[in-house]
Symmetry: C3
Subunit: 148 residues, 3 copies
């Protein structure tokens, strides 16, 4: 890939992650599913405190089927910052994003807190498929979590 | 437009929006006015809670004349995140930005709250004029607003 | 420099600043030192309230030697937003970043607060050295600081 192709890929991956955040927070589950590869590996064990060992899923379908029912009862705001995207081949890339999330829980039966405010980093890999770049794996690490 | 021209336009629009935020929060009203087209359409009805139906303005001059007297008595922090910029022609583009704003009100006679903390998205259009890209329209939607 | 070279330099500087934030918040002091030129000029007088006139350092080594012992006892989250990067020559550039920081202090003997939440802008210069772009100077200005 030449310099322009790399810059284009980086911009596409930034837009991809923007759709991830927007679809998550507006609860557009079909849109959210479309940002992932079919074989998505998602590791959100550090999402809440204490870490939840069960929060590893394989496949975008199982991930959305697990996530959507939980988040439908929660107002969420997820913000991403300061991407470090590295294009490793014409069809693969890695990325680190700083992040902050807030969850205001309406139905406390689904999660063990009424409000969560977290900070950390997403560590991701991307794959370019026929219809564009997708998130192939994501792992969340935390700097701090405040829960009430 | 070729790929490089599109990437350059996207970067210019990101810088334009950065000036929007910086001029707003540092109360540089001449600088803020310069980021808009003369025929700016601004829809901030969802800016506060409940929505304020009067918060639609046409023209950058009326917008600044409405906004500046209000914000001069308020410390504001507006942050933008995760742009999705699409160049639709050599002189037009669209953009969505995630956003968060905080307003600490010194003079409570101008707005019906002492502190506002909001989250949402800007939905914008841009136009490239003789002296560069400008914001031609902006509409704010909200995920959540906390007011005290 | 042509358009592509400028876009590449801008993306490299964005990644450089991303490493600055990530190394700071994960307390990777060797990684943090590597983002600066050896003759770094750092002006963080407005970092806390009231401004601390002593918070000007010259040289990346003295800066890290001052900073690391303080931050080792503090959980920090620093986020950067909305860069305005201008490439001024093949080896020099300027940048403004909106910022927000939170410091949760475990050992109150090192700083005069238990919690700090600040908002402002970094005003920076960059220099391209043999091994890439570095931060040559940084000055922090504030919109607001809340301390407890």
């Amino acid at each position: 890939m030449d310099a322009i192709e790399k810059l284009l890929a980086i911009e596409e991956i930034k837009k991809l992650k923007a759709r991830y955040f927007r679809c998550m927070d507006t609860k557009d589950w079909a849109g959210l599913e479309a940002v992932f590869t079919e074989d998505l590996h998602a590791d959100f064990r550090e999402g809440s405190d204490p870490p939840f060992e069960g929060a590893i899923t394989d496949g975008r379908r199982p991930y959305i089927e697990m996530l959507a029912p939980i988040l439908n009862g929660i107002v969420t705001v997820h913000h991403g910052h300061m991407p470090e995207i590295h294009i490793t081949s014409p069809t693969t890339a890695t990325g680190i994003w700083a992040m902050e999330d807030k969850l205001w829980v309406k139905d406390r039966s689904v999660v063990p807190y009424g409000f969560l405010h977290g900070y950390g980093h997403y560590h991701e890999t991307y794959r370019c498929e026929a219809d564009g770049w997708k998130i192939a794996s994501v792992r969340l690490t935390r700097l701090r979590i405040d829960q009430e």
